[in-house]
Amino acid sequence: MHEMGITQGILAASVDAVKGEGGTRINEIRISVGEMTEVVEDALQFAFEALRAEPDYAMAAGAVLLVTHVPASSACPTCDGEVFEHGRFDGQCPKCGNPFVEPRSGHELRIDSIDFD
Protein backbone atom coordinates (compact mmCIF):
# COMPACT_ATOMS: atom_id res chain seq x y z
CA MET A 1 0.00 0.00 0.00
CA HIS A 2 2.66 2.52 -1.07
CA GLU A 3 -0.24 4.70 -2.30
CA MET A 4 -0.44 5.97 1.29
CA GLY A 5 3.09 7.43 1.08
CA ILE A 6 2.42 8.76 -2.42
CA THR A 7 -0.81 10.44 -1.24
CA GLN A 8 1.04 12.07 1.66
CA GLY A 9 3.42 13.47 -0.96
CA ILE A 10 0.49 14.82 -3.00
CA LEU A 11 -1.19 16.48 0.01
CA ALA A 12 1.98 17.91 1.56
CA ALA A 13 3.17 19.42 -1.74
CA SER A 14 -0.29 20.80 -2.55
CA VAL A 15 -0.78 22.41 0.87
CA ASP A 16 2.70 24.00 0.61
CA ALA A 17 2.03 25.33 -2.89
CA VAL A 18 -1.39 26.76 -2.04
CA LYS A 19 -0.13 28.37 1.19
CA GLY A 20 2.61 29.95 -0.92
CA GLU A 21 -0.09 31.50 -3.13
CA GLY A 22 -2.02 32.80 -0.09
CA GLY A 23 -4.87 30.30 -0.56
CA THR A 24 -6.90 28.82 2.29
CA ARG A 25 -8.93 26.02 0.71
CA ILE A 26 -8.05 23.37 -1.87
CA ASN A 27 -10.92 22.33 -4.16
CA GLU A 28 -9.26 20.00 -6.64
CA ILE A 29 -5.84 18.43 -7.14
CA ARG A 30 -5.08 17.15 -10.64
CA ILE A 31 -2.34 14.56 -11.04
CA SER A 32 -0.93 12.42 -13.85
CA VAL A 33 -0.13 8.75 -13.30
CA GLY A 34 1.75 6.81 -15.97
CA GLU A 35 0.46 3.40 -17.02
CA MET A 36 3.88 1.86 -16.31
CA THR A 37 3.87 2.83 -12.62
CA GLU A 38 2.75 0.48 -9.88
CA VAL A 39 0.12 2.91 -8.62
CA VAL A 40 -3.51 1.80 -8.36
CA GLU A 41 -6.10 4.60 -8.61
CA ASP A 42 -8.60 2.94 -6.23
CA ALA A 43 -5.90 2.69 -3.55
CA LEU A 44 -4.89 6.30 -4.23
CA GLN A 45 -8.48 7.55 -3.83
CA PHE A 46 -8.92 5.47 -0.67
CA ALA A 47 -5.73 6.91 0.85
CA PHE A 48 -6.72 10.43 -0.26
CA GLU A 49 -10.10 10.22 1.49
CA ALA A 50 -8.45 8.92 4.65
CA LEU A 51 -5.59 11.44 4.74
CA ARG A 52 -7.25 14.69 3.62
CA ALA A 53 -9.02 14.80 7.02
CA GLU A 54 -5.70 14.95 8.91
CA PRO A 55 -4.98 18.26 10.71
CA ASP A 56 -1.83 18.91 8.61
CA TYR A 57 -3.90 18.88 5.43
CA ALA A 58 -7.01 20.63 6.86
CA MET A 59 -7.27 23.03 3.90
CA ALA A 60 -7.74 19.98 1.64
CA ALA A 61 -10.51 18.42 3.78
CA GLY A 62 -13.08 18.94 1.02
CA ALA A 63 -10.73 18.42 -1.92
CA VAL A 64 -11.21 16.09 -4.87
CA LEU A 65 -8.37 14.14 -6.50
CA LEU A 66 -8.57 13.99 -10.29
CA VAL A 67 -6.30 11.38 -11.92
CA THR A 68 -5.23 11.47 -15.58
CA HIS A 69 -3.74 8.20 -16.79
CA VAL A 70 -0.84 8.63 -19.19
CA PRO A 71 -0.31 5.83 -21.73
CA ALA A 72 3.17 4.37 -22.21
CA SER A 73 5.13 5.43 -25.27
CA SER A 74 8.68 4.86 -26.46
CA ALA A 75 10.94 6.01 -29.27
CA CYS A 76 12.74 3.58 -31.57
CA PRO A 77 16.36 4.63 -32.20
CA THR A 78 16.62 2.56 -35.39
CA CYS A 79 13.44 3.99 -36.94
CA ASP A 80 14.53 7.67 -36.77
CA GLY A 81 13.25 8.05 -33.22
CA GLU A 82 9.67 7.35 -34.22
CA VAL A 83 7.44 7.35 -31.11
CA PHE A 84 4.84 4.61 -30.59
CA GLU A 85 2.34 3.84 -27.82
CA HIS A 86 2.39 0.41 -26.22
CA GLY A 87 1.25 -1.72 -23.30
CA ARG A 88 3.29 -3.43 -20.60
CA PHE A 89 4.20 -6.46 -22.67
CA ASP A 90 4.57 -5.05 -26.19
CA GLY A 91 7.22 -2.37 -25.79
CA GLN A 92 8.99 -3.49 -28.99
CA CYS A 93 9.02 -1.22 -32.06
CA PRO A 94 5.98 -2.20 -34.16
CA LYS A 95 7.94 -1.49 -37.37
CA CYS A 96 11.30 -3.22 -36.87
CA GLY A 97 10.73 -5.28 -33.70
CA ASN A 98 13.61 -3.59 -31.83
CA PRO A 99 13.15 -4.20 -28.07
CA PHE A 100 15.84 -1.66 -27.12
CA VAL A 101 13.66 1.44 -27.26
CA GLU A 102 13.76 4.64 -25.22
CA PRO A 103 10.82 5.29 -22.88
CA ARG A 104 9.06 8.62 -23.52
CA SER A 105 6.00 8.45 -21.26
CA GLY A 106 4.21 6.11 -18.90
CA HIS A 107 6.33 6.60 -15.77
CA GLU A 108 4.74 9.89 -14.64
CA LEU A 109 3.82 10.55 -11.02
CA ARG A 110 3.17 14.28 -11.22
CA ILE A 111 0.98 16.97 -9.68
CA ASP A 112 -0.24 18.98 -12.68
CA SER A 113 -2.37 21.73 -11.16
CA ILE A 114 -4.39 22.73 -8.12
CA ASP A 115 -7.69 24.55 -7.97
CA PHE A 116 -8.02 26.61 -4.74
CA ASP A 117 -9.69 29.55 -3.00
Binding site: G5, A13, M36, R88, F89, F100, L109, S113
Partner: protein, 220 residues
Protein backbone atom coordinates in the same frame (compact mmCIF):
# COMPACT_ATOMS: atom_id res chain seq x y z
CA UNK B 1 -11.23 30.45 -7.20
CA UNK B 2 -7.69 30.27 -8.56
CA UNK B 3 -5.44 27.69 -10.16
CA UNK B 4 -1.73 26.95 -9.93
CA UNK B 5 0.08 25.01 -12.65
CA UNK B 6 2.53 23.01 -10.63
CA UNK B 7 3.96 20.27 -12.86
CA UNK B 8 5.88 18.86 -9.93
CA UNK B 9 6.88 15.23 -9.30
CA UNK B 10 4.80 13.77 -6.46
CA UNK B 11 7.85 12.07 -4.98
CA UNK B 12 10.18 15.06 -5.39
CA UNK B 13 11.13 15.10 -1.69
CA UNK B 14 12.26 11.46 -1.98
CA UNK B 15 14.02 12.22 -5.27
CA UNK B 16 15.91 15.17 -3.77
CA UNK B 17 17.11 13.00 -0.91
CA UNK B 18 18.02 10.23 -3.38
CA UNK B 19 20.17 12.73 -5.28
CA UNK B 20 21.91 13.54 -1.98
CA UNK B 21 22.55 9.84 -1.36
CA UNK B 22 23.87 9.45 -4.92
CA UNK B 23 26.34 12.28 -4.35
CA UNK B 24 27.55 10.66 -1.11
CA UNK B 25 28.05 7.31 -2.84
CA UNK B 26 29.93 8.95 -5.72
CA UNK B 27 32.22 10.83 -3.36
CA UNK B 28 33.05 7.62 -1.48
CA UNK B 29 33.44 5.61 -4.72
CA UNK B 30 31.09 2.93 -3.41
CA UNK B 31 28.66 0.93 -5.57
CA UNK B 32 25.16 0.59 -4.11
CA UNK B 33 22.78 -2.21 -5.05
CA UNK B 34 19.05 -2.21 -4.22
CA UNK B 35 17.95 -5.84 -4.02
CA UNK B 36 14.20 -6.44 -4.29
CA UNK B 37 12.14 -9.66 -4.05
CA UNK B 38 9.09 -11.13 -2.40
CA UNK B 39 9.34 -12.63 1.12
CA UNK B 40 11.09 -15.99 1.01
CA UNK B 41 12.66 -15.61 -2.45
CA UNK B 42 16.08 -15.85 -0.83
CA UNK B 43 17.31 -12.25 -0.58
CA UNK B 44 19.42 -12.86 2.53
CA UNK B 45 20.78 -16.20 1.20
CA UNK B 46 21.68 -14.51 -2.09
CA UNK B 47 23.42 -11.70 -0.22
CA UNK B 48 25.40 -14.27 1.82
CA UNK B 49 26.37 -16.17 -1.35
CA UNK B 50 27.38 -12.89 -3.02
CA UNK B 51 29.48 -11.92 0.01
CA UNK B 52 31.19 -15.33 -0.06
CA UNK B 53 32.04 -14.85 -3.76
CA UNK B 54 33.26 -11.25 -3.50
CA UNK B 55 34.53 -10.62 0.04
CA UNK B 56 38.17 -11.20 -0.92
CA UNK B 57 37.92 -8.56 -3.66
CA UNK B 58 35.72 -5.88 -2.10
CA UNK B 59 34.88 -4.32 1.24
CA UNK B 60 31.17 -4.99 1.60
CA UNK B 61 28.40 -3.79 3.93
CA UNK B 62 24.68 -4.53 4.00
CA UNK B 63 21.63 -2.41 4.82
CA UNK B 64 18.74 -4.63 5.87
CA UNK B 65 15.21 -3.29 5.39
CA UNK B 66 12.40 -5.05 7.19
CA UNK B 67 9.05 -4.14 8.67
CA UNK B 68 10.24 -5.44 12.05
CA UNK B 69 13.02 -7.60 13.61
CA UNK B 70 16.80 -7.77 13.31
CA UNK B 71 17.09 -11.40 12.23
CA UNK B 72 18.55 -10.72 8.78
CA UNK B 73 21.10 -8.17 10.03
CA UNK B 74 22.21 -10.66 12.67
CA UNK B 75 22.70 -13.36 9.99
CA UNK B 76 24.92 -10.99 7.98
CA UNK B 77 26.84 -9.75 11.05
CA UNK B 78 27.56 -13.36 12.02
CA UNK B 79 29.71 -13.52 8.85
CA UNK B 80 31.78 -10.52 9.96
CA UNK B 81 30.18 -8.08 7.50
CA UNK B 82 28.91 -4.70 8.78
CA UNK B 83 25.11 -4.68 8.70
CA UNK B 84 22.66 -1.90 9.56
CA UNK B 85 19.03 -2.78 10.21
CA UNK B 86 16.21 -0.46 9.15
CA UNK B 87 12.79 -1.26 10.56
CA UNK B 88 10.11 0.52 8.55
CA UNK B 89 7.48 -0.12 11.22
CA UNK B 90 4.88 -1.17 8.68
CA UNK B 91 5.92 0.68 5.52
CA UNK B 92 6.05 -1.63 2.49
CA UNK B 93 9.25 -0.18 0.97
CA UNK B 94 12.41 1.77 1.78
CA UNK B 95 12.74 5.50 1.12
CA UNK B 96 15.77 7.74 0.64
CA UNK B 97 15.75 9.26 4.13
CA UNK B 98 15.91 5.77 5.69
CA UNK B 99 18.92 4.93 3.50
CA UNK B 100 20.59 8.21 4.46
CA UNK B 101 20.25 7.42 8.18
CA UNK B 102 21.56 3.89 7.65
CA UNK B 103 24.49 5.14 5.57
CA UNK B 104 25.45 7.56 8.34
CA UNK B 105 26.06 4.48 10.52
CA UNK B 106 28.50 2.96 7.96
CA UNK B 107 32.16 3.81 7.23
CA UNK B 108 31.34 4.65 3.59
CA UNK B 109 34.91 5.67 2.67
CA UNK B 110 36.15 2.23 3.71
CA UNK B 111 33.66 0.34 1.51
CA UNK B 112 33.42 -0.72 -2.16
CA UNK B 113 29.96 -2.27 -2.22
CA UNK B 114 26.80 -1.67 -0.19
CA UNK B 115 23.92 -4.10 -0.71
CA UNK B 116 20.48 -2.84 0.34
CA UNK B 117 17.97 -5.60 1.08
CA UNK B 118 14.62 -3.94 0.40
CA UNK B 119 11.39 -4.92 2.18
CA UNK B 120 9.98 -8.20 0.78
CA UNK B 121 7.47 -6.93 -1.79
CA UNK B 122 7.18 -7.10 -5.60
CA UNK B 123 5.18 -3.87 -6.00
CA UNK B 124 5.99 -0.93 -3.73
CA UNK B 125 9.83 -0.68 -3.85
CA UNK B 126 9.74 -0.04 -7.61
CA UNK B 127 8.57 3.59 -7.31
CA UNK B 128 11.22 4.81 -4.88
CA UNK B 129 14.64 5.95 -6.01
CA UNK B 130 17.09 5.41 -3.14
CA UNK B 131 20.11 6.90 -4.92
CA UNK B 132 21.35 3.38 -5.74
CA UNK B 133 23.37 2.49 -8.85
CA UNK B 134 21.21 -0.50 -9.78
CA UNK B 135 17.99 -2.16 -8.80
CA UNK B 136 18.11 -5.95 -9.12
CA UNK B 137 15.28 -8.34 -8.38
CA UNK B 138 15.26 -11.96 -7.31
CA UNK B 139 12.54 -14.37 -8.30
CA UNK B 140 12.64 -17.89 -6.88
CA UNK B 141 11.52 -21.00 -8.76
CA UNK B 142 8.75 -21.98 -6.26
CA UNK B 143 7.04 -18.61 -6.90
CA UNK B 144 6.28 -19.68 -10.48
CA UNK B 145 7.21 -18.55 -13.99
CA UNK B 146 4.02 -16.48 -14.31
CA UNK B 147 5.15 -13.75 -11.87
CA UNK B 148 6.28 -11.32 -14.59
CA UNK B 149 2.66 -11.27 -15.86
CA UNK B 150 1.42 -10.36 -12.39
CA UNK B 151 4.14 -7.93 -11.31
CA UNK B 152 5.51 -6.47 -14.55
CA UNK B 153 6.76 -3.20 -13.02
CA UNK B 154 9.55 -4.74 -10.98
CA UNK B 155 10.81 -6.73 -13.97
CA UNK B 156 10.79 -3.57 -16.06
CA UNK B 157 12.82 -1.54 -13.59
CA UNK B 158 15.39 -4.21 -12.68
CA UNK B 159 18.82 -3.99 -14.35
CA UNK B 160 19.29 -7.71 -13.79
CA UNK B 161 17.08 -10.59 -12.68
CA UNK B 162 18.35 -13.36 -10.41
CA UNK B 163 16.39 -16.61 -10.66
CA UNK B 164 17.05 -18.31 -7.34
CA UNK B 165 16.47 -21.88 -6.08
CA UNK B 166 17.10 -23.45 -9.52
CA UNK B 167 17.99 -26.66 -7.66
CA UNK B 168 14.24 -27.04 -6.96
CA UNK B 169 13.34 -26.87 -10.68
CA UNK B 170 12.53 -30.64 -10.92
CA UNK B 171 9.93 -30.35 -8.14
CA UNK B 172 8.09 -27.30 -9.42
CA UNK B 173 6.23 -26.68 -12.64
CA UNK B 174 8.51 -23.79 -13.70
CA UNK B 175 8.79 -23.10 -17.42
CA UNK B 176 12.15 -21.34 -17.74
CA UNK B 177 11.78 -20.74 -21.50
CA UNK B 178 8.46 -18.97 -21.01
CA UNK B 179 9.90 -17.00 -18.10
CA UNK B 180 12.79 -15.82 -20.28
CA UNK B 181 10.44 -14.89 -23.13
CA UNK B 182 8.17 -12.72 -21.00
CA UNK B 183 11.05 -11.05 -19.12
CA UNK B 184 12.61 -10.32 -22.54
CA UNK B 185 9.39 -8.61 -23.64
CA UNK B 186 9.26 -6.50 -20.49
CA UNK B 187 12.94 -5.65 -20.30
CA UNK B 188 15.21 -6.75 -23.13
CA UNK B 189 18.32 -5.29 -21.47
CA UNK B 190 18.20 -7.25 -18.20
CA UNK B 191 20.41 -10.34 -17.99
CA UNK B 192 18.93 -13.32 -16.12
CA UNK B 193 21.17 -15.22 -13.69
CA UNK B 194 19.89 -18.66 -12.64
CA UNK B 195 21.42 -19.50 -9.27
CA UNK B 196 21.05 -21.64 -6.20
CA UNK B 197 22.18 -19.35 -3.39
CA UNK B 198 22.36 -22.17 -0.84
CA UNK B 199 24.08 -24.73 -3.15
CA UNK B 200 26.28 -22.19 -4.93
CA UNK B 201 25.23 -23.00 -8.53
CA UNK B 202 25.46 -20.04 -10.89
CA UNK B 203 26.62 -17.63 -8.18
CA UNK B 204 29.93 -16.92 -9.96
CA UNK B 205 28.26 -15.54 -13.11
CA UNK B 206 26.02 -13.27 -11.05
CA UNK B 207 28.95 -12.14 -8.87
CA UNK B 208 31.05 -11.37 -11.97
CA UNK B 209 28.27 -9.14 -13.36
CA UNK B 210 28.11 -7.31 -10.05
CA UNK B 211 31.93 -7.05 -9.87
CA UNK B 212 31.92 -5.42 -13.32
CA UNK B 213 29.53 -2.76 -12.03
CA UNK B 214 31.51 -2.22 -8.81
CA UNK B 215 34.77 -1.83 -10.78
CA UNK B 216 33.16 0.70 -13.12
CA UNK B 217 32.26 2.90 -10.13
CA UNK B 218 35.72 2.50 -8.56
CA UNK B 219 37.36 3.55 -11.85
CA UNK B 220 35.09 6.59 -12.23
Amino acid sequence: MAEIDLSRPILDRNEELAAGNRALFAEAGVFVLDLMASPGAGKTSTILATIAALRDRYRIAVIEGDIASRVDAEKISAHGIPAVQINTGGACHLESDMIRRAVDALPLDELDLVIIENVGNLVCPTEFDLGEHAKVMILSVPEGHDKPYKYPGIFQIAEAVVLNKVDTMPVFDFDEAEFRTVVGKLNARAPIFPISATKGDGVDAWAEWLAGRVDAVKRA
